[in-house]
Assembly symmetry: C2
Homo-oligomer: 466 residues x 2
């Protein structure tokens, strides 16, 4: 039997060395959005190959249409479950440099604002510290027991902060490299500083642009105002009609396939005791403005939306101009939940807009691409069950099963090209300043993160999850 305790002991006794390892990786300025950092990305990828090889993972770099990916494989034994671990070695740009207390690519351990110990560097939380929690735990397990209780494939990419289509294309073309039962991702947050979290719901997204044309040319609002149709007014009407008075979207068929929030999930989310006043107050709002009959978290994690992200038409300079414009344009995104079909939503939206269009107007649609479906992982999957046991044991607090209102493109790619669900566990904090100056990762996140993964590996080895 592969026991947990000696692995935890090794993680603890080796922690200083794990910190050195993190610092080595943080020193690469592997900025993922700017080609002038390509050499640093290549160095980081090369370092990761060596690092994986260091505990028996067969690793190599592979070219993509973007930056190289690092792929590593443990020894593959029949009959074992197969885990694909995903992380990214690229980081956000560090500008403006002068807002950093210590240089972004010279990691430093110091106190954070809550008095806690933390590692400060660009990428400390997103995603270098996080990805190492899993890899260091796996390394400790292998050093202790010789092998993992599952076949492991590691995929570390360099285009997460930039053009995510590179990895999407690579996955679509190299499906055979990634056969697995589940994807583990360590790139999300804890619910709060004491409560670990598993993200089990993500919204998808589709984007449309619509342009209404009325008159062939801009007109004088005096000489034509009244009889001539005004495309801004038509557009306003179409947008206003997208929701009923309860905030429900009126597009026929829009809610087709949307399941009610499960009782289990409702209870989970109620237990989170989410502070909606703090959440909304931080951005100057007083109360939720979404669909009536749903809590704020349900509106955010479990209900689809229709948002107007931009609008323009006619005169936009200083003062007044008595123009009656020829066209008016709006950019929309729809956040989707599990069960909704992006293609059908595009079609239903267009049909609905056309049905309401005055006969004096034309309408033009532009599908903005990047469709993704809403994703929901059952609380009852064996992976989630195992993770809950592991996280509660480490943190002495039940893991929050959270959703996210946003979309994570790679999760969509795994589902679409590989048919795989993702188990999303992360130890980042809300104050980690991800994408901002003075990004940091708490020492506790790093240490207990490793221990959490070790406990999850133990559940796979010795637990009884079905």
């Amino acid at each position: 039997m592969q026991e947990l305790q000696p692995v935890l002991n090794l993680i603890d006794s080796n922690f200083k060395h794990s910190c050195d390892t993190l610092f080595e990786l943080l020193r690469f300025a592997s900025v993922g959005t700017d080609p002038s950092y390509n050499a640093e990305c290549a160095k980081a990828a090369s370092w990761l190959v060596d690092y994986l090889k260091g505990f028996g993972i067969q690793a190599s770099q592979h070219e993509t249409t973007g930056r190289p990916v690092v792929i590593g494989k443990s020894q593959q034994l029949a009959g074992k479950p197969h885990v694909l671990f995903y992380g990214h070695y690229d980081v956000q740009p560090a500008e403006p440099f002068d807002l950093w207390t210590s240089p972004p690519f010279e990691p430093e351990k110091r106190k954070g604002e809550r008095g806690q110990d933390a590692f400060f560097a660009r990428g400390a939380a997103d995603d270098k510290g996080q990805l190492l929690t899993f890899l260091e735990a796996s390394k400790a397990w292998i050093k202790t027991h010789g092998e993992l209780p599952f076949n492991l494939t590691v995929l570390l990419e360099g285009d997460e902060e930039g053009d995510t289509s590179h990895l999407d294309r690579f996955l679509a073309k190299n499906r055979e490299l990634f056969e697995a039962d589940i994807v583990f991702i360590c790139d999300t947050e804890m619910w709060d500083n004491k409560t670990p979290a598993i993200t089990t719901a993500l919204r998808g997204c589709i984007a449309e642009e619509i342009e209404i044309q009325g008159p062939r040319i801009d007109l004088h609002s005096g000489y034509y105002g009244g009889p001539a149709v005004n495309p801004i007014k038509v557009l306003a009407k179409l947008l206003a009609n997208l929701h009923d008075k309860n905030g429900r979207i009126t597009i026929p068929g829009f809610y087709e396939g949307v399941k009610p929030v499960s009782a289990a999930r409702k209870i989970q989310w109620q237990k989170l005791k989410f502070n909606k006043n703090e959440f909304l107050g931080a951005v100057g709002l007083k109360h939720p403005s979404g669909e009536k009959g749903y809590t704020l978290l349900e509106q955010l994690w479990a209900r689809p939306t229709a948002e107007v992200n931009g609008i323009y038409g006619g005169y936009r300079g200083a003062g007044a101009k008595t123009v009656l414009p020829s066209t008016a344009t709006a950019k929309l995104t729809f956040r989707l939940v599990e069960g909704q079909n992006p293609k059908k939503i595009h079609a239903a939206f267009r049909k609905y807009m056309k049905a309401q269009l005055p006969s004096n107007c034309k309408i033009r649609f532009v599908d903005q691409g990047g469709d993704s479906s809403g994703i929901s992982v059952s609380e009852n999957s064996k992976w989630v069950k195992a993770a809950r046991v592991a996280l509660e044991a480490e943190w002495n607090k039940a893991a929050a099963l959270t959703g996210s209102g946003g979309s994570i493109p790679v999760v969509q790619s795994f589902r679409e090209h590989l048919g795989l669900d993702c188990l999303m566990i992360g130890f980042a904090r809300q104050d980690d300043a991800v994408h901002s100056p003075n990004e940091k990762y708490d020492v506790e996140s790093y240490h207990k993160g490793m221990r959490s993964w070790a406990r999850l590996i133990n559940e796979i080895a010795n637990g009884d999850h079905k």
Copy 2:
């Protein structure tokens, strides 16, 4: 008795000289929108002073905050009616020069597109040719009879095409110079090539900008979409609610003071047999989109409107951006008709917007200035009666009593500062290319225009209009 026929005879026999006079005035490049043409404007004003003196009008230049005005006065005799004639010597810029068949400030007489004779030059129709129709008629009358049957004040300005506030200020400060019973203006169009027109209704205008603020900062549409209010959607709803399903404006009190179109006016406008298919077809529209229950001309000339002239908010670049914007802005103008009070409409609009505002939002209003009231001149005024007789006699066709959907600032200034109505008669044609390259004025407009004014002077001298 001052007889008409010798005056008409003089106009006819002197027509060649009248043409030379027009050409002299057209040669000044008195562009009213560009300070580099100020010297040409001064020359035109100076020429006009001499021209007026040439037939016994005491004339001089007066400084304004803009270009000089020319003021002329005939001998003023007690007991006579008093007419103020208004015209403008400034013209639109002539660019692009290469689209002109003959240079814009070298007038040329040649055939127009309908085979008719015409004078081609910038300002030929707007307003040099038109203003001379009245002045040449007055000159012929004075040369024949020694004096006019009314006291005449002439006001010729140089800021009509530019900043109209200069003349407005000058009128407000110099009311005593312009005591009169009526203003004659020759700066409008004929109804069609065979039908003279008197403009008896103008719409006024007020302008407002509104900005809706939702969240304090731009938000991510995934992480906040649903619970967070979207100011673009709020703005769209407010704008959509401005009209009911019949196209009637829903602002409480908006129609206060608006009188129904008089039966006489309805009959007048029906008789015009306005070709609405041609009017709308020219700008790519099929049918009137205005207030139900009104003809196109009523919608345009006699009914107020609420138009959105511009709108903007959120992301307006290429592609999609999942932003939930902090603000959204719209620019509106309201065309007003006689009886509506601009100040009250501003207040009613703002009150209505505030009443509908969701509590999570703020609203900011900017009054864009330039308020003007709707104006309507009775068909039964003695001046209109006299003009109808005169025009029908000259053109062998009853004059059309038309409205205009637009606003003419100077008409508003005369009403506001001097309490005067305007009699608007003009002989321009729809194909005169006013403000465009190859502007022209038909020789027939110039000649019969003078004869029309002579006939109107005769009606004042000898008619029995009350």
